[in-house]
């Protein structure tokens, strides 16, 4: 019997779970049952097989795992930061580690503050573990291993900073996730000393066991799913369309940055040209120098604006573009679980021998499927909400910065105009109406 963890521990001190209206169409009907309010933070995974997800109580209660509280910030009890990249040189390789600081009041943590150093490989490992344990939950994407276009080396300062921010976001998304944040792997990641982490990583299913699971997965994929529920087909269609849109937006924004940079290059020559001209003039020298100054200041603001796009909007768009791969994978895995169930149903109907074992397997497969579907539906809602919040705030932020940019440039030119008018009035020149 593969490992189900049935745990009916009552959670301590947490308010009852409200099911928000926006997912009401997507979840199973719930019985009014006190047990449904129960959930545990201890999602112990005894083996990492993708077909043996951790379970608390019944599949239906999975929905209650999600605390859709509006004031999530106030109840946040874990804070994670990623900073301080450092280069490490060994005989074999050079790599970067990042400092990961955790501050928490959660009881399952031995202490309230932790500081560890982790490298990109470690993040990859964590992501893999979470995906394995929860095949139909949506894990936030990691920054890519290598950026093919544009970047030259891994150790370029900008690249490291971009990566650091993305890693920070990644861990925070995990910490905010109702299931992932209670993952043991996550805890280990945040707290284990380097040696501990290495040995912990070595645990888990052996190579052959993993191979076996992979073979099963491939077989399921080849078999294909027959009766995919409509809602998952709709999900797939949405993901397809969304993927195109977000990737377009990513490209458009990168193009804007490129054009802005080229504009900046030309603009940078304007100021000095006005300054050069002022050297040949007498009366005009002052206004020309002032114009040169204005143009130079606008250049600085433009530079700032380009940097903002690069640092704020583009990473977010890029991450949601990467999300679509995750979403497609999640939908695929769900399909495989269903395909497996369908195959076993068929097998039971056709074969005569071993019916008891097969019925047992079928039951487990059915549970697995139901659990996977519910998990996906709930996490899908959560993901959509998050996506909406993240993209909205990224665009609002961008618009705000653009307003700011124009306001600063406006001030620059208005002060020039003002100085010219006061000069004119001072010299008794004609009015400018």
């Amino acid at each position: 019997m593969s490992g189900f963890v049935v745990d009916s521990t009552v959670s301590s001190g947490n308010s009852s779970v409200a099911i928000p209206t926006d997912i009401s169409g997507q979840i199973l009907d719930l019985d009014e049952d006190d047990d449904l309010e129960v959930f545990s933070k201890d999602t112990t995974v005894t083996d990492g097989s993708s077909f043996n997800a951790s379970m608390q109580t019944s599949p239906a209660s999975m929905i209650n795992q999600y605390k859709f509280e509006e004031d999530a910030e106030d109840t946040k009890d874990i804070f994670v930061t990623v900073d301080n990249p450092e280069s490490h040189v060994t005989a074999i390789e050079t790599y970067i580690t990042y400092r990961v600081v955790t501050k928490t009041t959660r009881s399952e943590f031995d202490s309230s503050e932790f500081e560890v150093r982790r490298r990109y490989q470690d993040f990859l490992w964590l992501k893999g573990r979470l995906e394995e344990a929860h095949p139909t939950l949506i894990v936030h994407p990691l920054p890519e291993k290598f950026v093919v276009k544009g970047m030259v080396e891994r150790f370029n300062e900008d690249f490291i900073e971009t990566r650091r921010r993305a890693l920070h976001r990644f861990l925070n998304k995990i910490a905010e996730h109702p299931i992932f944040s209670s993952s043991e792997d996550f805890k280990i990641f945040l707290t284990a000393a380097p040696g501990e982490l290495t040995s912990y990583k070595k645990q888990g299913p052996g190579f052959l066991s993993r191979m076996g699971e992979t073979v099963k997965a491939v077989a399921a994929a080849v078999r294909g799913v027959r009766n995919r529920p409509q809602e998952f087909t709709e999900m797939q269609e949405y993901v397809e369309a969304f993927s195109q849109k977000i990737s377009s937006l990513d490209k458009v924004t990168q193009r804007i940055v490129r054009e802005q940079k080229e504009y900046l290059e030309e603009l940078k020559e304007c100021g000095p040209t006005y300054a050069l001209w002022s050297q040949s003039e007498e009366e005009l020298a002052e206004p020309l120098k002032d114009v040169a100054g204005c143009v130079d200041r606008c250049c600085k603001e433009t530079e700032e604006q380009v940097k903002n796009l690069n640092d704020n909007l583009i990473p977010v768009l890029h991450e949601y573009a990467l999300c679509t791969d995750t979403l497609k994978a999640v939908l695929r895995r769900r399909d495989n679980i269903q395909a497996d169930f369908e195959a076993k149903t068929e097998a039971l109907a056709t074969k005569k021998a071993d019916r008891d074992t097969m019925r047992d397997d079928l039951d487990k497969a059915e549970d697995r499927l139901e659990w996977a579907n519910n998990a996906l539906k709930s996490d899908w809602t959560r993901w959509q909400k998050d996506m909406r919040t993240d993209l909205r705030s990224a665009f609002v932020d961008t618009a705000e910065r653009n307003v700011n940019y124009y306001e600063k440039c406006l001030a620059v030119w208005e002060s020039f105009l003002h100085s010219q008018r006061t000069d004119a009035e001072g010299n008794g020149n004609v009015d400018f109406s």
């Binding site: 849109k245 937006l249 054009e259 114009v291 665009f395 609002v396 307003v403 105009l417 010219q420």
Partner: protein, 414 residues
Amino acid sequence: QFLGGLGFVMVEKGTSLLKMMEISVAEAEKRTGKNAVNMQETYTVYLIETRPVDAASEGTNPVPDSLWRRYSEFELLRNYLLVTYPFSVVPPLPEKRAEFVWHKLSADNMDPDFVERRRVGLENFLLRVASHPDLSSDKIFYSFLTEENGWKETVFETGFQAKADSRLKALNATFRVKNPDKRFAEMKHYGDELQSVISQLLRVRARAADRLYGVYKVHGNYGRVFSEWSAIEKEMGDGLQSAGHHMDAYAASVDDILEEEEHYADQLKEYLFYADALRAVCRKHELTQYELEMAAQDLTSKKQQREELATGTIRTFSLKGMTSKLFGQETPEQREAKVKMLETQIEEGEELVKERNTECEEFVKSAWVDIERFKEQKDHDLREALISYAIMQISMCKKGIQVWNNAKECFSKM
């Protein structure tokens, strides 16, 4: 008090012509006809309208007098003025061909935008001439404005063409002046610098305009993608859709912005070409100075020759002198004849030097007056241009603030 087609043109009310009449280049039209080699050609003509000043102020508003002229006729007028008033900084014509263009702007002479900008430039030219203290009272200029037929013949009858050819030759010749007026030398240098720096500015500006166009237009893609995206979303749809409209508006706004900037470029171009006119006046001074110096040099050498003949000392080498040394002295009668000839030449030479000296002095006086006038005009106009540039930038910023504030509101409804 300043009038003029373009608000920044410094035009003095009180000069003879503008006191009498209002001048404008009201329209432009395409014509086709046969040219000098009997081939079909298409060209543009411009309508020059003139109206007595009094009529307008009386409020009766009569129909103005008008005639059509093409660009080549304007060129003829200007060439005539250049030759006839060499001490004046003659206002330039708008460019013959579109230069310093950025990619979206057409370099085609028949392009309606180019034609429109040329119309404005030609009006500006006429107003400048009409307000010039010396040029405005020229008869040929007056008939250019008022007599449609036979004007060309009248111009050629003045015989300016011959002067034009020799002027061109002289301006292009290389010669060294020993004592140029320092102020003119400085002005010439200034003219060179002005031309160089304005060219550079126009080039840089055109490239920047190109790039700015790209930045704005790419935002149009946001509009398209937001619209498509809104179709697959429920709650986010409305916010996205309306934000998309603002992105489209943003992308479209650059056309007006850059059209306004083109006016600024035209203002700079005028002074780019003015630099040429300024240089021409300085060159003319060099020429008159040179001719004076040549005459003076010639006179000095003739005087020396006379002295040598009188005293018998040979300080200047002459072939005659050498041959007479080798083959014997000349007779006293021969020497007498030579001295007499030299005396006449010296007399004539002194007259010439006096003439040329006066010419030089008068030229310096008149030219310097006009150069000072030009300086003042230039300082005023360019300052106005810089101010109008700032106003344009301010307008652009205000539009940007508005669009992005609107977009922000839409985004927050996502």
